[in-house]
């Protein structure tokens, strides 16, 4: 039986999910080996093979599709371990990466220094040349000058080169010429040209993305082939795909050419997973889904609107304004540091605060018993009885409840409230940051949380998702059975996605029908070329959709509006397109301006080729033994301390129901069924939770 394997190589764990063609899922984890990624991956694969009771070679031998995602690129950027990269810019404009776009999240704070640029100034080289906004060459590329700069770069032993010249999007001649010069002067050094990486106007965003791309090339060009050859050596002969930040997959060879696409690609698969589960559970593909992926150190929120993933052009690595932007249209995944390690404290005004300071993993929360003494969110959950100290992380670490009580006790003393009350307050305040993040994402898209399904994944998913849902007004919460490995599970259900864009300026007042037709035909040809280059094993039915980036006259931020079919055929189709723009503007920004000129400058095609995703099958389940659940004490503000049942997920058959308050323990997460909520296991083996 043919299998499909997805992996997500994270900073700590490597997750593997194996599915067979009937939809059976096998999940395995191993520690990531940062210096030898394939080592960690092989360990996880071996565990999966063990569970399936077959040799690894047999498993890989019957695997038709292997989908790879990794946070290595993201981590390398955040940790500053990318290649030593030179930045080539138009003469006169060397500080694009230093200044970014201004702004600050903490305008009154004079204790923190300005963030370092992605490429230091000493590795920035000004190239004598200039193209203007219309694409005219104002001053020709001075090749001798450029060669001199490149030899300086060579003397500084750069390992990659990023090229972003002003208006290369309007006329790429100088960037292309520089590319040739780099090949001659710095043979073997990988480089990235901005008009190829991301042809957008706004020099900072383009330069930042291009520099990130170049800086990742040496790393990815060694890591990815290592994975490919490692898999082949173990007997894999199928197709190898890699996740991209566009919420789909591309052939691994494309990612080696454009490593920028791999940045935050893992988290972008979480909404793919959530969409699949929500569609299977509700029977509808046009769903609004809020997706929460709660790990140990971060909380990621993303959105599915009317069955579509939601995209953003503003993905920052590190803090907005002070980190580095990718500039790429990518799945909108908002990440906030709100993990179990966030420290609770009382400020001078007497208010209880949670974070931003975190105890991290080491020393970690007080209950880890590794020397941490300050109270954290995890300590609060433990004190409330929401975590079983013997079964934390599948029993990998026993938790020290008295240590957590001592840490929170001090806080309770300061505030003059009881221990459980303060623990509950800590969780509520931590939740509020997540609620704010969800609000910002949903309201920006005009999605009403009350009409949406909330899908929760990640190791800490079940701890506080229900009070968050209640506060948002969501009546239904889904916790997939693969909640602990949401991204790897998403890989199982992702399609090949490729986007192409082309500029063509027109407006509602003098719409250029033939020009638009020609532009869209060009996009179509590029998508067809991409499709035809796919290996035969991946060829499938291609769905092509077209979009236009549109705005009212004088605006500069576009709304992406889908076209009907594959073009704008006539006046009526144009009228309907304009109406959709007005509607979208009003939905998102509360106002419309009928009659105002609408400008359109960028056209986009997205081709989706469905891979043969596994069916979402019913959970195979051995008949559970009827056994009395264990019990423990937990605290809920409306009930006080109560004795509640603790169910093992493995013993709950499809159709089983659990009334809150109760705990359900799964190997990778614990679900707290709060009072007033009920959980039941669906036919597909997912948890559906509802407010009574």
């Amino acid at each position: 039986m043919s299998a499909r394997i997805t992996c997500d190589i994270g900073g700590t764990f490597t997750d593997v999910v194996v599915s067979d063609s009937s939809g059976g899922l096998t999940v395995a984890k191993a520690l990531t080996q940062p210096s030898h990624l394939f080592g960690g991956l092989r360990a996880a694969l071996e565990r999966a093979a063990e569970q399936l009771r077959e040799p690894l070679a047999a498993l890989l031998g019957r695997t038709s599709l292997f989908i790879f995602s990794t946070t290595q690129a993201t981590n390398a950027i955040l940790e500053g371990t990318t290649a030593r990269t030179a930045f080539l810019c138009t003469e006169g404009f060397p500080d694009i990466l230093v200044r970014r776009e201004g702004g600050s999240l903490r305008p009154y704070d004079y204790t923190r220094a300005f963030g370092e640029p992605y490429v230091p100034r000493r590795l920035t080289f000004e190239i004598p040349e200039r193209v203007d906004a219309d694409g005219n060459i104002v001053s020709a590329l001075d090749e001798a000058g450029a060669r001199a700069r490149l030899s300086e770069a060579r003397a500084l032993r750069v390992q990659a080169v990023s090229v972003c010249l002003l208006w290369s999007t309007a006329n790429p001649a100088h960037e292309l010429a520089l590319g040739e010069l780099i090949e001659r002067e710095l043979p073997g050094v990988p480089y990235s040209l901005s008009h190829q990486i991301n042809p957008i106007v706004r020099e900072y965003r383009r330069a930042s993305g291009t520099s990130i791309d170049a800086s990742l090339k040496p790393l990815m060009q060694s890591h990815l082939p290592e994975i490919a050859s490692g898999l082949q050596a173990e007997g894999f002969a199928g197709e190898l795909l890699a996740a991209s930040s566009a919420g789909g997959v591309v052939p691994m060879s494309e990612l080696i050419e454009r490593p920028l696409w791999s940045v935050r690609s893992g988290p972008s698969l979480a909404p793919v997973a959530a969409r699949t589960v929500a569609a299977a559970e509700t029977g509808s593909h046009r769903v609004d889904v809020i997706v929460c992926d709660t790990g140990g150190t971060s909380f990621d929120v993303s959105l599915v609107r009317d069955g579509d993933l939601v995209f953003t052009n503003e993905t920052w690595l590190g803090e907005p304004f002070q980190g580095h932007i990718t500039g790429l249209a990518a799945v909108d995944v908002r990440s906030i540091g709100a993990g179990g390690g966030s420290i609770a404290w009382v400020d001078p005004g007497g208010l209880l605060r949670v974070g931003p300071e975190s105890a991290g993993a080491d020393p970690g929360p007080a209950c880890y018993g590794r020397g941490g003494t300050r109270p954290t969110v995890t300590d609060a959950a433990l004190v409330l009885g929401y975590v079983d100290p013997e079964r934390f992380l599948g029993g990998a670490m026993a938790l020290d409840t008295p240590a957590a009580e001592t840490a929170l006790g001090e806080l309770a003393g300061t505030l003059g409230v009881g221990l459980r009350e303060v623990a509950h307050a800590v969780l509520s305040i931590a939740n509020e940051r997540m609620i704010a993040a969800i609000h910002e994402l949903t309201v920006n898209e005009g999605v009403d949380p009350r009409d949406s399904t909330l899908v929760a994944g990640g190791g800490a998913a079940g701890l506080t998702i229900l009070p968050i849902a209640r506060e948002l007004g969501c009546r239904e919460v889904l916790i997939p059975r693969a909640a602990g490995v949401l991204s790897a599970f998403g890989g199982q259900h992702s399609d090949i996605v490729r986007e192409v864009t082309a500029p063509h300026v027109t407006s509602s007042q003098a719409f250029d029908f033939p020009g638009v037709r020609e532009t869209l035909d060009g996009l179509r040809a590029r998508m067809l070329a991409f499709e035809s280059e796919l290996p035969a094993g991946l060829a499938g039915e291609a769905q092509r959709r077209y979009f236009v980036e549109a705005r009212y006259a004088y605006q500069v931020w576009d709304l992406s509006i889908p076209l009907e079919g594959d073009g704008v055929e006539d006046e009526q189709a144009l009228e309907r397109l304009l109406e959709r723009f007005h509607d979208a503007h009003e939905r998102i920004f509360a106002v419309r301006e009928p009659g105002q000129r609408i400008e359109m400058s960028q056209w986009k095609g997205r081709v989706v080729i469905a891979t043969t995703t596994p069916p979402v099958a019913a959970r195979r389940h051995a008949a559970p033994e009827a056994r009395m659940p264990q019990r423990r004490t937990a605290y809920f503000p409306e009930l006080g301390e109560v004795d509640i049942p603790v169910h093992l997920g493995s013993e709950l058959a499809p159709g089983a129901g659990v009334e809150g308050p109760a705990l359900v323990i799964e190997p990778e997460t614990t679900i707290v069924v709060y009072p007033g909520w009920s959980a039941h296991v669906s036919a597909l083996g997912n948890y559906r939770l509802e407010l009574a």
């Binding site: 003469e91 006169g92 404009f93 060397p94 230093v98 200044r99 970014r100 776009e101 201004g102 702004g103 600050s104 305008p107 009154y108 004079y110 204790t111 923190r112 220094a113 300005f114 230091p120 000493r122 203007d132 906004a133 003397a155 500084l156 032993r157 002003l166 208006w167 106007v201 706004r202 020099e203 900072y204 400020d347 001078p348 005004g349 007497g350 208010l351 209880l352 605060r353 307050a425 509520s428 305040i429 509020e432 940051r433 609620i435 704010a436 609000h439 910002e440 309201v443 920006n444 009212y552 006259a553 004088y554 605006q555 500069v556 931020w557 503007h585 920004f589 509360a590 106002v591 105002q596």
Partner: protein, 615 residues
């Protein structure tokens, strides 16, 4: 205490759950951020949709600034003044109304900031006001500039003034007002789009506030408001109680301009009273209003003092009317520092003289001891922050907008070097910067260069932020008109506690033959095709003695080209040695010690000589 407050408190629950207080505080900030995002994405002029020269806020029904997120400091800290005039002038206001307010005599910043006020009702009762204040591309002034320095009074300034007039009723525009603006403002389409953007932001705020009130109930929300303001006050009080008691004086002088040969000197006296948990700012000892557009409105003067204090406190204190109860600002009617009287103009109220007030006040806190206060920040509204205008070559239609592309260096603090994209003291760090490509796409401009300058940040133990240099001109056959008001060209931003001043501002015009002539830094130029204007904003002042700067930090500065090797040697006393291929330099510790001793001795000798001369 107002009647509303008493009423709210009597009906409020015994004491608000502290968890709910924290939860709702987040919720209100999120609403302001959503309002802000709306205005940013939908604004039509570059000053809004790129630079974000606008701010949104929520004010209580009794005119207390409640939430302002990351709004521009000068825009939001005085927001309660404007809603007071709305209540006074429109006692019959009701749901569906919106008001347009840009009158500096009635509590606005300056004429160019159009403010939309939407009173938010619940069950027929006014609970909050959602406000959106946005700098306009043009406001109908007598010249195409939103900052008019050389005007004797508001009549010469010439902008349309709306003393809090109703602009919407039942959620529909009052066309008379819209027509007035369309007639008088140079770019009516852009203005109307920006008006819609601000209105949309305020209406989004109205919608969300309604939802929050409906969710929690009006009494809980009232109790929360009272609680949160009290909490904010306690935070401020605690922070002030940790300061030493002292009376501080400082002054700062705006550069001379034609007609004002002595410039404008401002005086600030600050009483830090930790035992009372109070800081009071006295701006009364300042000159009377002057027949120039440089007078500072009450809104700006009050905001300026608050900016200075908030910058100097390390704690993150909520910025609202609660914490402001601990700040007293004394103004004198008729004074150019916040005592604006008719018919004087406050066209430039948000920047030039105000930036001097803020600098004087924030640097005065250094008198409390090492580790306190800030140096002066650069605040040149120069060539890189100009109001530019002309006509599109194809259509002949006029354009006018402001650019935010220049770079003023931030003040060094006791903790770190000056912020790079500081903007200026009245809106430090918050305003965004334009993209060269977007400016060139939107307007017929062409930039020749834009770079940060080495050795432009004031030297010190902590270094001031760098100044930027920009060169640009028209891209078509149409001329380009540029207005700029670069203070800090004569009196650059000062360092403190032994820190040195930052680089001075500069403005010049480069002719077709390449020759360059300096121009009046507060003035305007008409550039013909082929001409360029070159401007340098200023560098931030340094904090502490440059001889105490960590030599490794100086080495990094040299490698990263913020400081020249020469300045490292001459000013910082750091001797560098060449070593290896990369970074190629290292600190010579022995040489540095000797060099610093020499510089100290020379400095002492100079001081002695100066003392002898003065005796």
């Amino acid at each position: 205490m107002t009647p509303e407050q008493t009423d709210a408190q009597s009906k409020a629950p015994r004491q608000l759950d502290p968890t709910l207080t924290a939860v709702l505080a987040h919720r209100f900030e999120a609403i302001v951020r959503e309002m802000t995002n709306t205005l940013f994405r939908t604004g039509r002029s570059s000053i809004l949709n790129m630079a974000r020269d606008f701010s949104c806020a929520i004010v209580t029904a009794d005119d207390q600034l409640f939430a302002a997120a990351e709004g521009l400091q000068v825009h939001v800290l005085g927001a309660g003044l404007q809603t007071a005039s709305m209540r006074e002038l429109h006692p019959d206001m009701r749901e569906g109304d919106a008001y347009l307010h840009n009158d500096p005599m009635l509590g606005n910043t300056h004429t160019a900031d159009h403010t939309i006020l939407v009173p938010v009702f619940f069950a027929g009762e006014h609970i909050f006001t959602a406000t959106a204040k946005a700098h306009q591309a043009d406001c109908g002034n007598s010249e195409p500039s939103t900052y008019m320095a050389y005007v004797a009074d508001v009549y010469a300034e010439g902008g349309l003034i709306f003393p809090c007039v109703k602009v919407q009723q039942d959620n529909s525009d009052i066309e008379d007002i819209i027509r007035m603006c369309r007639r008088r403002i140079r770019v009516p389409e852009v203005w109307y789009g920006d008006y819609l953007a601000a209105l949309g932001a305020a209406r989004i705020g109205e919608r969300r506030l309604g939802e929050v009130i409906a969710r929690y109930g009006v009494e809980t929300i009232r109790a929360f408001v009272a609680e949160w303001l009290d909490y904010s006050e306690r935070c401020m009080e605690q922070a002030i109680r940790r300061l030493p008691a002292k009376r501080l004086h400082a002054r700062s002088r705006h550069d001379p301009i034609p007609g004002l040969p002595g410039g404008v000197e401002v005086n600030v006296t600050i009483d830090v009273e930790p035992e009372r948990g109070l800081v009071s700012f006295d701006l009364r000892e300042n000159p009377d209003c002057i027949p120039f557009g440089l007078n500072v409105s009450e809104y700006c003067a009050r905001g300026g003092c608050m900016i200075a204090l908030l910058n100097c406190l390390e704690e993150d204190i909520p910025r609202n009317a609660g914490s402001f109860r601990r700040i007293e600002v004394l103004l004198r009617e008729g004074s150019l520092a916040g005592g604006l009287v008719e018919p004087y103009s406050a066209s430039v109220s948000t920047t030039n003289v105000l930036n001097r007030i803020i600098n004087a006040a924030q640097s005065a806190f250094c008198q409390l001891g090492d580790g306190q206060g800030l140096a002066e920040g650069a605040g040149a509204l120069g060539v890189g922050f100009s109001v530019f205008s002309g006509a599109y070559p194809d259509s002949g239609e006029p354009y006018v907008s402001s650019m935010v592309i220049g770079n003023n260096g931030g003040p060094a603090s006791p903790h770190c070097d000056g912020w790079i994209t500081y903007a200026m003291p009245d809106c430090p760090k918050t305003i965004y910067i334009d993209s060269v490509e977007m400016l060139e796409r939107t307007y017929p401009l062409h930039f020749r260069s834009l770079r940060l300058l080495a050795d432009s940040g004031g030297a010190g133990r902590l270094r001031g932020g760098p100044a930027g240099e920009v060169v640009y001109g028209p891209r078509s056959q149409e001329p380009l008109r540029v207005f700029y008001l670069a203070d800090f060209a004569v009196n650059p931003p000062q360092g403190v506690r032994g820190g040195e001043p930052g680089a001075a501002a500069w403005a010049s015009v480069i002719d077709l033959d390449g020759s360059e002539r300096q121009v009046e830094p507060v003035g305007d130029s008409l550039l013909a095709p082929g001409q360029w204007i070159r401007g340098i904003e200023a560098g931030g002042g340094g904090y502490g003695d440059p001889l105490e700067r960590d030599p490794q930090a100086v080495l990094r500065d040299v490698i990263e080209r913020w400081v020249s090797a020469r300045a490292a040697h001459d000013v910082y006393g750091v001797v560098l040695a060449e070593e290896g291929p990369d970074p190629g330099l290292t600190v010579d510790p022995q040489g540095t010690r000797e060099r610093r001793e020499t510089l100290s001795r020379e400095r002492a000798a100079r001081r002695d000589a100066a003392d002898r001369t003065s005796r």
